[in-house]
Point group: C2
């Protein structure tokens, strides 16, 4: 184990890149590598309990956190750069986060779903009040409020698709990739809220105080996306 | 894949037991089994995407959800019974959840921690305002408010122990089991907030409408705890 790092020393002169744990990481790492950052070997060790990793660049470290937390790490300047889904950026809507680049990965959509058995005769345009299980209460309230519908949100961090079958509420707002999880739970999409992809998230204060450095990183990620596009086309 | 279940049918006459995913489940299942409930074989398949499981009892089903969501499933009557840590019960503080039994498992504590390097000369009794990274904003605010300290909480769902090293904030409130994670990140406990164990959580409405059935289950879990105590003593 490394020697303990004293309070706050990491953040002063190093660039910290916050990456999301889990499935999306497999899509993120090729881009990060094309941008010139290679993580230390421990990063790929599934058993490591480390959260903070060195890279090939002495001035760059990687933290691996839950996808929902990436925006918070960037907003508070604990990371200067991050990769975060549009869903997370929209939910927190931090003014301190600038998200200039669509990385074109982690594609899915955010939808309202309900039991197929309810669909017959249900007209979303006639709803006046809905109760919704979701991980995204802010997005959900905003989506429904925009057309005058009041949404009562029951916040869950997972397993939303269980909620209708257990009588918790009739509707859910969740990410949908292939739709197979909804189908397996007898649910169908009734409204599309947003298309989701991962974006590069940049701390605005860092952009002001370290403009050349941060600008160069945005350029590098832009090139990395274009390289990925070329590779796909070839 | 099972045929889709129409909206709400599961909840009417079946008893749903909500169990927490993850590490704690290994401690929970022996108790559940001593209470007379055996999950279907799929429950132990690490690759299953199922969330709702049959048991040896036709009238009992198990849902496996995130530990943080168990209290919500029970509070809203999507599950009549659940196993939830005191941390989750305290954080949500749902009036609809009755938690009569300490199951004596999942023992840990909730603490305030800060960098060891800061400890010298730091006196918690002199704090007037603190900024804290935590998964437990309600508990944290209540803990500090009780002695007139205002806590500004930065909500994270994991990796709290990174926050001080990255300059996000100086202090965290988190669960501590052995203390090795804190130590590896150069943090020390400075205040003890609560001792945590898992409890049996019961939906109060179910207790009123199905008193004999729910009362019998509470008895069964009480016996299961006593059996476990006897086994430990033997």
């Amino acid at each position: 184990m490394d020697a303990p790092v004293p309070y706050g020393t990491v953040a002063k002169d190093v660039l910290v890149l916050a990456l999301p744990r889990g499935r999306i990481l497999k899509e993120v790492m090729p881009l990060v590598q094309r941008a010139g950052i290679t993580a230390e070997p421990d990063f790929d060790d599934p058993k490591t309990r480390k959260l903070l990793f060195d890279t090939n660049l002495p001035a760059v470290k990687i933290v691996r956190v839950r996808s929902f937390d990436v925006a918070t790490f960037v907003a508070f300047g604990a990371a200067q750069l991050g990769v975060a889904g549009n869903d997370v950026l929209m939910e927190f809507d931090y003014p301190e986060v600038y998200a200039p680049l669509d990385l074109g990965i982690g594609r899915c959509r955010m939808s309202v779903a309900e039991p197929a058995a309810m669909m017959a005769g249900d007209d979303p345009s006639r709803w006046s009040h809905v109760r919704v299980a979701t991980k995204y209460p802010q997005i959900t309230r905003r989506h429904f409020a925009a057309r005058g519908v009041q949404a009562e949100c029951i916040e869950l961090s997972g397993a939303m698709e269980l909620a209708p079958n257990l009588g918790l509420c009739r509707r859910i707002v969740d990410l949908v990739e292939t739709g197979s999880t909804l189908k397996a739970n007898g649910l169908v999409e009734v409204e599309h809220i947003a298309d989701i992809t991962s974006r590069l998230a940049v701390n605005r204060a860092a952009l002001k105080t370290r403009p050349d450095e941060m600008g160069a990183w945005i350029e590098r990620f832009l090139d990395a996306i274009e390289d990925a596009g070329d590779a796909d086309a070839a």
